[in-house]
Amino acid sequence: MDTNQYMGMFLEESREHLQNLNSCVLELENAPDNLSVLGEIFRSAHTIKGMSATMGFTTIAELTHEMENILDMLRKSQLQATPDIIDTIFKCVDTLEQLVESVATNSESTIEVEPLVVKLKALAKGEAIPVPVSGEKTKAKTESSATTSGSNIDFSDTEIKVLEKAFGQGLQAYEATVYLREGCLLRSARSYMVMNALDEIGEVIKTVPSVDDLEKEKFDLSFQAIIVTSSDAEKVQQTVLSISEIDKVEVVPCILGDTKEVHEEVQVAKTEEAKKTAPANAAPVAAAAKNKGGQSVRVDIDKLDALLNLVGELVINKTRLEQIGITHKLTDLVETIEQMDRVTTDLQSVVMKVRMVPVGQVFNRFPRMVRDLSHGLNKEINLIIQGEETELDRTVIDEIGDPLVHLLRNSIDHGIEHPAEREANGKNPVGEVRLIARHEGNNVIIMVEDDGKGINPDIIKRIAIKKELITQVEADKMDPAEAVRLIFLPGFSTAEVVTDVSGRGVGMDAVKNKIESLGGMVDVETKINEGSKFKIRLPLTLAIIQALLVNVSEEIYAIPLGSIDSTININATDIKTVQNKEVILSRGQIIPIVRLAHVLNIPETEKEEQEELFVVIVHIGEQRAGVIVDNLIGQQEVVIKSLGKLLAGIKVIAGATILGNGQVALILDIASLIQ
């Protein structure tokens, strides 16, 4: 069987499941007897096993198989989740990640799974005795494990109601376990035929895995279906066997008593979970929501990009039509275009939304990272994640991971103190790192906060002087906030000792560059002994922005509206000089002046010195500047186009856009303009 065409899907899904495994095992570590989490882990491992076996990756399948054994024992409470077991499972997940990546890069796999397999086997054998536990709950658990030995199906409230109702009507419920023949190719199609056939003699109320997963072929060779019917078991069996490529089918009556208990058990676990306020427990809610999730389609990101480009074209043409309507005073046309405008705006926002992905996709790998780091550094750290549902453009999501890793590592390594030191300073020995995402206007804010020791501006100044990044004179003039921002300079590293975690001197300026290349910005606030806060501001989208068009002599430039404070008129005499730099006074603030004509080397045209000047006040973070332009044209939606490889990297220009008349206008890069 040619499996190449499924490769992309296999990789993507494996990665998803591995991610899920990571977060679930982390949760399990906090709540070792949480059955629903165990179930989730088991399912993910099982899916990976199934997929990899189908694809012929035997190493992956072998490892997951052994993992499954352990997980199954955990689930049946024959084994308890000791730190040793958790660590081993983590190691397995890491190894699986490496294996999957080696499949992705098509590299020869030299990864050894043998030691892990041996270890897993030993764990399974050595401690395969039911661990004695006490209390009412244990009884329920052992009971449930007994009853579920045949059936591992958890029922939801509604499903139980359906079952109860069916029993009330004298109908029978059966659990049919269908085994497909080895080598069966269209497994999802087979499962669909089975479902169809069963639907004819009764009602299928549940399948394991879910119907969605069956359709996606997310199962091995067997699946289970609960059917409510008036027919008997034999009839059910025959119906299923009438379909080709079915190896065998086991039909057992489904009894509600058992299921109810299982169900209650799960409930207990869930309420316990809910009571805990530990941050890692945000995950099960997300997992539950995910399981519920509606129908979805996987689409290649390239297709979405193409769609976005087309919408961009449409917007350009719409603007062009608008201009024709206005120049020729065609009222009908203008009205029609207004309607079209609404449609294109909607279309645009829909396409944008389609490209949006929750930041949770990036965030969810951090709990594991923080755990490993804090263990490695002997620090105790509580990671709090908020706002993981905040959505960002896919391109931004792909890029934002590395900077965040850097910031988190910095917070953990440099920010949070060792427990003893924290206690000495009267702080909670457990440090707190918060990762928060939220919307703010047309931006998304991501913050990395810690309650560590903060950044000392004097130390920063000292290091910066020592590394010859600034001079003593410059340092003396700096206020503390400015001094702290020095950490963003290239070649700055504060770690007194270079550790494994951070402090190689490439950190913060790389973070800053990355974020700025995404059209965002990063700033830092800090208080000694109270902690630091890194604030990243990112645009919602990179493709279409609102901009102010301005004239500078004959040329037209676009200034992104997001960085404009206001536009003001001043007289030439309002411009003062401070230390040979031109500034103006606006609302009590001293604002440096940027003469666009000068910065952009615009050829001098013969004209009188204007008495009245237009100034666009722009800002990047706290920094402001007044940009002098000849004329303001107006606000317009512009589609950002790149200048291409040949012209990449020009300072001051962020990109280009096409105006309504087909002319190209350049978009100013405010950040580099201010500097």
């Binding site: 952009l600 080397n601 615009i602 040949l646």
Partner: protein
């Protein structure tokens, strides 16, 4: 222009004029020929980068070929054209004084550029073609566009 373009016995060239001289590029590298349109100047670029144009919704850099080859400048006329060429995935426009014809030339009629070295940087040439009494200067587009050496802000 790479060797393989000339490996066959004959090649097809798009012939254009810069001042009084005739130049040629392989037709395989030419995407289209356009009348001159509005060119938006891009600041902080070398002189020979004339700016960018809108080619059906995408932004394309345009170079001033005469400037690049250090030839005397002259104002654009009715005949001025932009030849859009594609070099290693990079589409780029070149302003030329006129596009005259497409011509097939036999490989043995192409001399190596050394014969005229000194007139313009020999680096930008890939050969000189002889057609009866005409001389065609064949351009090395890779070198002219400077693929691989991104334009640094001035």
């Amino acid at each position: 222009m790479s060797e393989e373009n000339y490996s066959n016995d004959e090649i097809q060239l798009v012939i254009f004029k810069l001042g009084r001289e005739e130049y040629g590029v392989s037709i395989l590298q030419v995407q289209e020929i356009k009348r001159i349109t509005d060119i938006t100047r891009v600041p902080h670029t070398p002189d020979y980068i004339k700016g960018v144009i809108n080619l059906r919704g995408s932004v394309l850099p345009v170079i001033d070929l005469k400037n690049r080859l250090s030839l005397p400048q002259q104002a654009s006329t009715e005949d001025t054209r932009i030849i859009i060429v594609k070099v290693e995935d990079l589409s780029i426009g070149m302003v030329v004084d006129a596009v005259s014809e497409v011509m097939t030339i036999s490989r043995q009629n192409i001399d190596s550029p050394e014969v005229v070295a000194g007139s313009i940087a020999a680096n930008y040439l890939s050969g000189v073609g002889k057609m009866e009494d005409r001389l065609l200067i064949l351009l090395n587009l890779e070198a002219i566009i400077g693929v691989g050496q991104e334009v640094n802000p001035a």
